[in-house]
Symmetry: C2
Subunit: 146 residues, 2 copies
Amino acid sequence: MISQKSKYALRALLALAARPGGEPMLISEIAEQEVIPRKFLEQILLDLKRAGLVASRRGKAGGYLLLRRAETVTFGEVLRLIDGPLAPLPCLSKMAYRRCGDCANENACKLRKVFARVADATRDILDTTTLADVLQGGVKSLPVEI
Amino acid sequence: MISQKSKYALRALLALAARPGGEPMLISEIAEQEVIPRKFLEQILLDLKRAGLVASRRGKAGGYLLLRRAETVTFGEVLRLIDGPLAPLPCLSKMAYRRCGDCANENACKLRKVFARVADATRDILDTTTLADVLQGGVKSLPVEI
DNA sequence: TTTTAACCCGACTGAATTAGTATGCTTGTT
DNA sequence: AACAAGCATACTAATTCAGTCGGGTTAAAA
């Protein structure tokens, strides 16, 4: 299960990406439109800003805007930023590898072999799907049953 | 990330499945061999027993044994039992569906479309990989680079 | 130049989950 | 009857989750 915070982050980014002309959007505007607790959203946007995904303007008539093109922001990147590694085992994370603590001989580990496939499948989807893909409705879905 | 408890459960089941003749194995035997805290493992085995995956014999010369054939026990089943739903969103779980709380129009939800693909890919792997597959080393791995 | 409406930031909190421990009870074999 | 095995409940310390609170800073407008 992904966290509520990640869901909020993705929805906020989608809202910004959908903004025509890329003009700034108020926190409260996003919060209302996407039904996200206002103060919590503030935190999230700050995280996204520190990561360089969005920019902000302060003072009256301020707001947030997407700093990068929607085609370059992947779901994987956002999820890693908020929730940490995508991999189901720490020893399978490419970005934040950690040894598993238990299993001594890592490439003999039976579990690892199975979960490596899960990790790769997950990455294949999340690291190739961008905000733009979703906005255009261009998300490949499963074969439609005829 | 899957929980430590799930990892222990899977390793314990693999140990039982590997037992020749299917003779019972002591908790402490499993605990030592797989390096799992003994009392914690007791709890886990009880869960697996209540779910009908293993059986136990009490008294001296007791122990645990696998109740079902190793070919019929999938990783998905074990993970669901210990960790709960596999799906990344509650509204995507086939076994334990719950509405998402926020998004009103579920099949218009942009996030859902993306994570549905992740959920399906995950299920494809975990619900088709069994204890037997892993034991035989028969886990399909990624294409070997030549 | 003062006001006002934005964003910025750290601290706090209540509930839930995780990864176990502790303590004792029941059961079956010897 | 004794011993060794599993059965069962309660407890706990640490962490995470999903926010809330209270103020500080900045910049445009009146």
